[in-house]
Each structure stands twice: as structure tokens, then as C-alpha cells.
């Protein structure tokens, strides 16, 4: 591997060797247990090989042993920063497979919490990405806002990170008026906060030097590699599952898909900053429009019966027992692939049902896994220091990549 070569002309006695550098899996800036093997010529990267799988837990195999309800806590732990969005992705897939129609109010609640999660995830990304590149203050400011949203989530469902909030056919608990008002108050203040982050880094010359023209990926390459989310939008492709195949109520609110032009780290950063504003406006519109009504679908074959009926009605009690112990026994056979837009890109669930209460096969298409495959393309030819910036800019989470 260490190929010897002469650089300073034939007569020179100075020879350089390519150096193989192992980065990770325990490295604070690889955002989890990602291992990269870099071959260096001086400071320049000749070859970059990512190794994944250090966080493999066998989620896909494990879910074959669990009924459809029990899988929800597992989806929390894929991309643990945006667990709400994963819950929704999974539930939307199962509902399409079963043909369940989710009530309007639940759809609105889902949209609100999905966008809250997008803000949360992008805040964490902005904070750590800036920290990697050398801006400490942004990190602290981002976590201040994150804390507010996390407390709101905790009030809503009792957990801050692993929420398990959606259920097949609806959501677990209704939102109350006070909660909506508090969230609305947050959205009023948040645009000012976004401006503060931008004051700190948007024009900062160090930030620009580290991000402009680095890690460029063209629109064509991005499409060929199957990238999605802010990464592909940074290259100028306006692909967003929320626009192309709307789920929840994304077709009932007004919003735009922000895109970049150059496909470098700076444009990906700009796209995410604009997404903050779009998400903020989606949340506001949803809170203004949210209708009254039930939060659970009327699908007695798949949804747990109401608690007060379980103790008074024999039929409901039997139903409850069967749903808990065996899962929905009348699940239709078939297969389905449903994609949703999580903060990091397109998250797909492919479910094969054989009519028992458990999925025969559940395959997850995580955006992070696909994005890591673009890392060699982004890093090769660049400098070692830019590897960190590149990893930050594609926003990966290993829990989702390795599953």
C-alpha cells in the first residue's frame, strides 16, 4: 500500500510515501462510529474508504419477531435525533399497507411534530457542524433552542429523545391548547434566532474559507448516487418527498423547497438554514388550521380498542388480547414501499406482510447509509481537514446507517 515515489525529480534523494491513516471509529468528529481509511499523499487524500457496521444491532431481523405495534420503539432508535419523523415514516407505511385512513387532526399533529423534529435535527447538525469547523458559540446557541423544543416534546409524550409517539392509525395522545400556544410562541421568536446564527457564521471569512467550493457534488452525480434530502437540494435538484409524494398534510400548507446552486458545503448549509424558516412557517400554518376531531382511526381490526370498552365489552376484551399478544391477525398480504422525508433525506420502509401479525420482512432505506457512499467522492482530492467538514455537511447518524 505504501507506494514509494519520487517527487522532486530523479536526482533528488527525497522520497515520499503514501500514508495510510485510520480515522475513527472512535473519533469525536465522525458523528458516531464511522471508520474511514484514508490514503494520503502529504495532506491530500488519494483514496477514502468508509467502513460501516460498528453499530449494527440487527433491527431489520429483529422486527420480524415483533408485531407491528412493538416495532415503533425500534424505529425511534434508527435516527435517534429525529425519532418522531421515523415513527411517522413507519406508521405511514403500515397504514398504506393496511388501508387505514388516519383522521385529519392526527395528520396535522403528525405534521407539526415532524417539523419540530426537523428543526431539532437541523439545530443539532448546525451546532456540531460549526463546532467541527471551529465555531463554538453557534453550538451553545443552538442547544438553547433545542432545549425549549425538547421540553415541549417531553410535555407532549413523556420522552425527549426516543418518543414512540405515533401509533398505527393515529397518534398516542392528543395535543392540548396550551401546548400549541407554547409552540406558537416559540415559532414567533425562532426566526430572530436563525438570524443570530447567520450573523455569527454566514459571512464569517473562516467559515467561508472552510465551506465554499469544498466537497462539491454536481446535480447529475447526486442523482446517480441516490442522494436525497438537503444534500441533493444543495446541488440544485428540488427533490423533496413532501412535495413529490405528499403524506400527512404537506399538500395543504404553503411552503417551498429551498435549493442551492453549487453543491458545495456552503450551499448545503444554506439549504438547511432555509429549511428552518420553511419548517417554522409550516408549523405556524398547521397550528392555525388544526381541526378538532378524533386522533385515532376507526379501524377496530388494527387499532387497540378504547380502554373503557375493554373492561365492559367481552368482544373488545378479546380483541385487545389478540392485538397485544399476536398483532393484527387480519393484516392483508402484500408488500409496500413508502418513502417519507426525514430531516436527513428520504427514509423508506419496505414491508412484506404474509398475513400474520408480524411483518415477514421489513427493510429500511436509511438516508445516512446512502450518503456515506458519497463520502469518497466528496473527500478524494481534498485535504484531511476537509474530511471533517464533509462528514458534517452530509449529516449522518450511524444508528440509522448501521441499523
Amino acid at each position: 500500500m505504501a507506494m514509494e515515489k519520487t517527487r522532486l525529480g530523479d536526482n533528488s534523494r527525497v522520497t515520499t510515501r503514501e500514508l495510510t491513516l485510520n480515522m475513527g471509529p472512535q473519533h469525536p468528529a465522525t458523528h458516531g462510529v464511522l471508520r474511514l481509511v484514508l490514503e494520503l499523499d502529504g495532506e491530500t487524500i488519494v483514496k477514502c474508504t468508509p467502513y460501516v457496521g460498528y453499530l449494527h444491532r440487527g433491527v431489520e431481523k429483529h422486527t420480524e419477531q415483533l408485531n407491528y405495534l412493538q416495532i415503533i420503539p425500534h424505529t425511534d432508535r434508527l435516527d435517534y435525533i429525529s425519532s418522531m419523523a421515523n415513527n411517522i415514516g413507519y406508521c405511514v407505511a403500515v397504514e398504506r399497507l393496511f388501508g387505514i385512513k388516519v383522521p385529519e387532526r392526527a395528520q396535522y399533529i403528525r405534521t407539526i411534530v415532524a417539523e419540530v423534529t426537523r428543526i431539532l435535527s437541523h439545530l443539532l447538525w448546525l451546532g456540531t457542524h460549526a463546532l467541527d469547523i471551529g465555531a463554538m458559540t453557534v453550538f451553545l446557541y443552538c442547544f438553547r433552542e433545542r432545549e425549549k423544543l425538547q421540553q415541549l416534546l417531553e410535555r407532549l409524550c413523556g420522552a425527549r429523545l426516543t418518543v414512540s409517539y405515533t401509533r398505527i392509525g393515529g397518534v398516542k395522545k392528543d395535543v392540548d391548547q396550551q401546548w400549541l400556544e407554547d409552540l406558537y410562541a416559540f415559532t414567533e421568536e425562532f426566526p430572530m434566532r436563525i438570524e443570530q446564527y447567520e450573523t455569527l457564521i454566514d459571512k464569517n471569512r473562516i467559515w467561508l474559507k472552510r465551506t465554499k467550493g469544498i466537497g462539491v457534488i454536481t446535480a447529475e452525480e447526486a442523482i446517480n448516487m441516490g442522494l436525497s434530502g438537503p444534500v441533493i437540494r444543495g446541488s440544485g435538484v428540488p427533490y423533496d418527498v413532501r412535495k413529490f409524494m405528499p403524506y400527512c398534510v404537506y399538500d395543504k400548507v404553503k411552503w417551498e423547497v429551498p435549493t442551492g446552486k453549487n453543491g458545495d458545503i456552503y450551499d448545503r448549509y444554506r439549504v438547511r438554514m432555509e429549511e428552518f424558516r420553511q419548517s417554522n412557517s409550516i408549523i405556524r400554518q398547521c397550528i392555525e388550521q388544526i381541526p378538532d376531531g378524533p386522533i385515532m382511526a376507526d379501524a377496530p381490526k388494527f387499532v387497540l380498542p378504547p380502554k373503557d370498552a375493554v373492561l365492559t365489552n367481552m368482544e373488545q376484551l378479546i380483541h385487545h388480547f389478540v392485538l397485544i399478544t399476536k398483532g393484527p391477525m387480519t393484516a392483508p398480504e402484500g408488500e409496500i414501499y413508502v418513502a417519507t422525508e426525514v430531516p436527513k433525506g428520504e427514509l423508506g420502509f419496505y414491508i412484506v406482510s404474509d398475513g400474520t401479525g408480524r411483518p415477514y420482512r421489513l427493510r429500511i432505506r436509511p438516508p445516512s447509509f446512502v450518503h456515506i457512499s458519497a463520502l469518497p467522492r466528496l473527500c478524494e482530492g481534498g485535504l484531511v481537514a476537509d474530511v471533517i467538514a464533509n462528514i458534517g455537511s452530509i449529516d449522518i447518524v450511524m444508528g440509522e446507517c448501521d441499523r
Binding site: L66, L69, Q70, I71, I72, P73, H74, D76, R77, I100, K101, V102, P103, E104, A106, T137, Y141, R144, E147, Q151, E154, R155, C157, G158, A159, T162, S164, R167, G169, G170, K172, K173, D174, Q196, T199, L200, I201, K203, N204, R205, G293, P294, I295, M296, A297, D298, A299, V303, L304, P305, P306, K307, D308, A309, V310, L311, L317, H320, I324, T325
Partner: protein, 172 residues
Amino acid sequence: MTTRELIKKILFIEIIKGLALTLKHFFSPAVTRQYPYKVKIEPPPGARALHALAKYETGKMKCVGCGLCSAICPTKCISIYTTEGEGHRKVVERYEIDTLRCVFCALCVEACPFGAIVLTPHFEYAGYDKGEFRYTKERLLDNWDRYMGPERGRDYFERFWVPKSRDFRGGG
């Protein structure tokens, strides 16, 4: 580069703007909470932490040992052993939760038809010994008195024991 841009570049305008912002924050009140030394964090009601087994007002345990909670538990951390008691009644002999394996999903609460198990907001239960995290029936009942009680328990069931029939009203 225009003169304007040049002046901006020489005078470090964007850096000064950033510094002014941080300076302003320097004088605004801190948002950091000094946990655990100065403040105690009180999680909101319904926060999902340590389990408890509910009691009736009379002090009798609600759980009947039907086993639904352990059936739904995705990590299989609840173990229930029942025996036959007086008059052929089912008696819950042992009820144990291995909290180290629990993922605090609250599916057990959802599955229990009697509202016999709850997740209390008590989250500070660090220990030195693995055995301390194996909660037996007695300790779980004790948790109810300590962290829930009838008053908070009623509120918990009203708001977090799902689903209720009004959630289904009208259908979808």
C-alpha cells in the same frame, strides 16, 4: 472587489458583528440550569421513567397477572409468575422488571387493561449494583406510594393511559 467590500474586509466588519452579538449575550441572563447542585429538575407529568405498580385506594394491588404487559414489551423485561390461591383465584406471586433492559416505551402501560402499571416521572435511581435495578413486586408497589399516589395517579390515567373512546369519536 469593490471598494466597499475591500473596506469591509480590512475592517473585519462581519467578525465585529458576530462579536457584538456574543457580547450582547454576555449581559443577558444565563439559561443554563445548575443541575444537580443548585436546581432539581422536575419532569412534567407523564414523563416516562421508573415503573410503579398501581394500588386501589384500599391499598390492594390492581394487577391481576394477565401477562399482557410482558407480552407487548419489546425487550421482554417483565417477568410474571402466578400461582393458584384461595378459591382457585390467580395470585401474582412475583412481578419483576429488569429496568436495565427497559427502553421506556410505555407500551406496557398501554397494554394493561386495568391500569395496573404506570411509568412515574422519577428518573434519578442510579445504583452501584446490578441487582438494584431488578425491581420486584414489593419495590414496584412502594414506588407507587412514593412517586405517584392516588392524586397524581388519577391525573396520569386520565391523560396518559391511552387510548380512550373519545379518541375514536366520529371515526376517520
